[in-house]
Amino acid sequence: MKFLKHIITDEYPFLLACPTFLWEFIFLYLPLFALLFFSFLDYGTTYDSLNFTLVHYTTIFKTIYFRVIIDSFILATATATLCFFIAYPVAYFLAMKVSKRFRTFLLFSLILPSWTSLIIQIYAWFFLLEKNGLLSRTLCQLKLISPTTHLLNNYFSILVGMVSCFLPFMILPIYAVLEKMDKKFLEASADLGAGRFETFKRVVFPISLPGVYTGFLLVFIPAFGEFAIPSMLGGAKNMFWGNAIVDKFLIACDWRSGSALTSIGIFFPVCVLTCIYLIFKIIKAVRQPRYLKSAHAGQPFKDLLM
């Protein structure tokens, strides 16, 4: 009893945080590691004798599922890249060229669609692009497409859905960085004789890079694991990681190879992105002129970027 009292009075910060920790571990970390563990187990294994095997991984690399993961990687990269090119001018406009009150309104209307249900957004595109939908009818009457052209169920419709759903996640981080940027940099750059393009290339863009990275991640991660958009706008022909997981877990109920698929899907993009990052870093180090390597000159905005 005394021990219990001691715990309640003295260790209460721990007690206070305990439920949250438990919740997090039971519902997130425990199943993650369990899935990783199960993906190495043989089908015939019992709890008395554990047979470890790599067969689930090798089958994934041999069959179409690896292709599926690569396809989702390409799709997610394409979505993020497209979003970046579309979003940057919008973020620049919001941060630099709008009065403050109008900007609040614009930001609000940007957040509104991204926080309404994803399903509704997808359905809206479905409704528009469908065979008898408004867009295909209109384009058909304008003789821009033939009546047999399908706007839905192809790569294009998936990409359109993805970009429109995830665009705000790219715009907002870039906007946040550009908005915080000291506008005196622009004047200074102009004073030093740089043109508009030069200023953008040397000052604005390097400063906004952290926002670009954040936006890239915020778009890439959900786009990689997306299930609803390919399944509703892409038809049965296009299969991606999310759909494959749903197939494995909910339809085939094949938990072991499903968990192998899940863990490859988590580790593959991480590995590829890390490799790309390292390659860029090496290229940068190699291409840097020697006189810059010796003296720490030549990067005026370095501490801004850090």
């Binding site: 209460y12 910060p13 721990f14 206070l16 945080a17 949250t20 920790f21 919740w23 997090e24 039971i26 519902f27 997130l28 970390y29 425990l30 199943p31 993650l32 369990a34 899935l35 579309i86 001018p89 919008v90 919001l94 060229k97 614009l106 609000f108 209307s109 940007l110 957040i111 509104l112 669609p113 926080w115 309404t116 249900s117 994803l118 399903i119 509704i120 957004q121 359905y123 809206a124 595109w125 479905f126 409704f127 528009l128 469908e130 008898n132 009818r137 429109s164 665009l167 981080p173 946040a176 915020l218 959900p222 990689f224 694991g225 299930f227 609803a228 509703m232 909910l250 899940t262 988590i266």
Partner: protein
């Protein structure tokens, strides 16, 4: 020539931005418009009517799905705000910040992985999926947002306030109730609203964890769309949109946007 070019730039930029906004809003606007359409064939505009909204109220499945969604959203909001706040308050006694990094996983992992995890826990312990798994998943999702938002406010609090309260003889619980909670109130409200919105809109976790008997609104909409276009879905989406925009408006008025932005 230079003036010409500058005019062109000045002109083209707003046009481009408005085109992007149009791209984001066009499908939604058309959806809303056609939900008021009299005709059964979705494409032809016949006349204004509220027929599909009447049909909506008459369908018992939709009412049941709405009820499920609301129950799950309320409970998971309450739980995630409660758990998150306790965690943040307890963090005052720790020296290091690594426990906070644990919760980045809730946001950074693809949602599909979260939902598989919860499904596997419930299957492993042979608990039937339903309200329990839905609430577990949505609370997990909410924690990832609640903890950073509440923490941002909690760090700014003056420690003198709590210390003087303790000095004056208040117990820990009284201090928590009378000092800490009122000071954290704006961020608690904002975080709660955000979690509520997330939970209402969430599809993937609901899809995995809802099971055969319980259906949330978004899963219901999804299963309806699989069977084809139906004007009732338009009406339902329209209601959904109205609720969501109301929530977003509320969130914006609590300035949670700034907090989320600075956090991200």
């Amino acid at each position: 020539m230079v003036d010409n070019k500058r005019f062109f730039l000045r002109f083209i930029h707003p046009v481009y931005v408005s085109l992007i906004y149009l791209f984001l809003y066009l499908p939604i606007i058309i959806l809303v418009l056609f939900s008021f359409n009299e005709s059964t064939v979705s494409i032809k505009w016949v006349g204004f009517s509220l027929r599909w909204y009447r049909e909506l109220i008459k369908t018992p499945e939709i009412i049941a799905a709405l009820q499920t969604s609301l129950i799950v959203a309320f409970v998971s909001t309450f739980l995630s705000v409660l758990l998150g706040t306790c965690f943040v308050v307890a963090s005052k006694w720790w020296k290091n910040t690594w426990p906070f990094h644990l919760f980045y996983a809730n946001i950074l992992l693809p949602e599909i992985v979260l939902s598989i995890g919860i499904l596997s826990v419930f299957t492993f312990f042979q608990i039937p999926v339903g309200y329990g798994s839905l609430i577990a998943g949505h609370t997990l999702l909410g924690l990832g947002y609640v903890i950073p938002i509440v923490r941002a406010r909690f760090v700014e609090l003056d420690p003198i306030l709590t210390e003087s309260s303790l000095d004056l003889g208040a117990s820990y619980i009284t201090t928590f109730r009378k000092i800490i909670i009122p000071l954290l109130k704006p961020s608690l409200l904002a975080a709660g609203l955000l979690t509520f919105t997330l939970s209402m809109d969430d599809f993937l976790i609901s899809f995995f964890c809802s099971g055969p008997n319980v259906q949330t609104l978004s899963v219901y909409v999804y299963s309806m769309i699989r069977t084809g276009v139906d004007p009732t879905i338009n009406a339902l989406s329209c209601c959904f949109l109205a609720i969501s925009s109301l929530l977003v408006l509320l969130i914006c008025s609590f300035k949670v946007v700034d907090q989320v932005l600075t956090y991200e």
